[in-house]
């Protein structure tokens, strides 16, 4: 995997402000190995994904075997080893959204934007994901566009909104 921030690990806290966040979190959790998931959350929020260098930094800081960190990262849906794109479109496929046509939304996104769930555009501008349930069932079908919940959407509407987002970049 090629990462954008290929900086030697020992230098990272000084060069990247995002690493400072992680370093602070590590300190707050007193470098306890059981805080691994909490620290991964911080890293995922800061970078949008978990670059290899960051993982290796956390691994060393917590004195954990890399296998343990890798197995934890790949177990949970929240953590990603790849960039999810500058803009994210998260389609909820929970039961309520399923009953109300989440599949039609995914189909339209694939038709209109050529992206399937889990894919990112070549220029990294947009990533499409699916969520198991975001708990906004009263507003089904729901899509989260850049952290903003879009309630009771139609397939055409959401593609339009995405296009507007990518266009404004």
């Amino acid at each position: 995997m090629k990462s954008e921030t290929a900086v030697p690990v020992k230098d990272m806290p000084k060069t990247d402000p995002r690493m400072k966040l992680i370093a602070a979190k590590l300190k707050k959790e007193s470098f306890k190995p059981d805080a691994l998931i909490e620290i991964l959350h911080t890293a995922q929020n800061a970078y949008g994904y978990l670059p290899k260098e960051v993982l290796s930094y956390i691994t060393k800081a917590l004195h954990l075997p890399p296998s343990r960190v890798y197995s934890t990262v790949t177990f949970y849906h929240f953590f990603s080893l790849k960039s999810k794109g500058e803009h994210t479109c998260l389609v909820c496929t929970g039961t309520a959204c399923y009953v109300k046509g989440a599949q039609a939304i995914l189909n339209e996104i694939e038709r209109g934007l050529g992206l399937k769930a889990g894919q990112v555009t070549a220029d990294n501008k947009l990533g499409v994901q699916v969520a198991r349930c975001i708990g906004a069932c009263g507003l089904a079908p729901a899509v989260v566009l850049d952290d903003e919940v879009q309630a009771k959407v139609t397939p055409e509407e959401i593609v339009q909104k995405i296009n507007a987002k990518i266009g404004t970049l």
Binding site: P33, A96, A136, C137, G138
Partner: protein, 548 residues
Amino acid sequence: MNRQDLKTIIYAEKKKEETNKYKHKICVCCGAGCISSGSEEVMKKLQEEIKTRGLENEVEVIPTGCMGPCNQGPLMKFLPEYNIYQKVDCSNISAIVQSQLIEKKPIEDLLLFADSREKPFIDARDDPYFKKQLKIALKNCGHINPERIEDYLVHNGYLALDKVLFEMSPEEVIAEVKQSRIRGRGGAGYPAGLKWETVYKYVNDQKYVICNGDEGDPGAFMDRSVLEGNPHRVLEGMAIAGYAIGANKGYAYIRGEYPLAIKRFELAIKQAKKLGLLGNNILGTTFSFDVEVRIGAGAFVCGEETALIASIEGKRGTPRPRPPFPAESGLWGKPTLINNVETFAAISPIINNGGEWYSEIGTPKSAGTKVFALAGKINYAGLIEVPMGTTLREIVFDIGGGIQNGEDFKAAQTGGPSGGCIPAEHLDVKMDYESLVSLGSIMGSGGLIIMDKSSDMVDVARFFMEFCMDESCGKCVPCRVGTRMMHDLLQKICENKATQIDLDRLEELAVYVKETSLCGLGGSAPNPLLSTLRHFRQEYENRIVQHD
């Protein structure tokens, strides 16, 4: 803060509320649902409007948690009149304020359910939507500002904690919970009092209380709404549990998908600590209790208690065989009490009103009330709380307002991926633990998805099987391989390519997976399949290709 200080604060806050300089209170629903519908802008616009009219000394505007009818949002409630406005738009706020506060009469056309009922109810409490409900766990949701501990204190908050610390022994607290006959609201329905007693009996210098807020069932949002609408109630329940079982540390495991719930719960912890209602020597006693939030990272299996414990310990969330049960050896090998958010939310009313009071609500075997998340093809989707034993028909038609577009009811799905579908001929089933099990479904955490004829039941079974296949942690073979095989067979049936042999194999496999899986995920993964086969077998058989 000691006991006297708490009473003083509550008294002062109540006095303030009574001699309130405000004549009106406007509650704007700021639950996750209404926020998505734009309630934050509504709130801002409303505050501006009140200010421009110079009414800020007469009218108090507060953000609240979920009021219930989520798909009618944003919701705005005027107190003391109990007039609720639905689908509030920034453009009609001025008119509403003018009519409601100056002309003193509500705008009927904009009231709750005005567009779907012949005539809306002026006082929302008269509406069957609310009349049929009984709110205990959700009592203060939608009435108080969840971000102010004082609001909770005015509504007798933390009085139950005060009562147990000064007037009750741990044994008495457990006896009270046992007497209430409350059963775990997470799904399995194990009697909470018994669980508390078991943990209490294990002698150890370190015990833990865990609040399970990993509401992974797709289609369920009860825990989210409780945590967002009244976080202090859950916190108080956890502290009472800590006192009863002898624990001084609690963890709240909340889904990462619920950022607002996490934020409000963390704020609640901070506020309670500041007032000495959490932390060392609570209310001047020798009892100390601290709570930490752990954020889930998106794994359905972590709702299973042993997997959840592994996740709190920072590991892959895989379950382990029980026994030993967490009550004996849980978090870091210490005796641990795990209850669901809704269970903890019901504790303080049980202590305040007595276990007997609670046990008289509901049915003999399932006491109390249950919160349901009503969604799918129903007119009034949202959050409701009803006494156990309320029939499905009452929930769907009296409270939920029937099926959208006047379609016929086809099935209700309860219990998420571990549950099953209830067909129309069982609409009169009482919603309690035993009745649902007898129909091949389960109560589960309370997700209730209503379907009409547009839902294909074979595809519904495939949908849930796909979910379980994805979410299987991979530790035990029956679940890892079995869910995949069942999914592929269901896919084959959906594509009209399966034969009778496939269907027979599917049924056989379902029983194997159910009986041999390590944890509840695999053990209940075949439920949606088995229940749709039981009630909608014809739909399966219609798709079977006949051999020549």
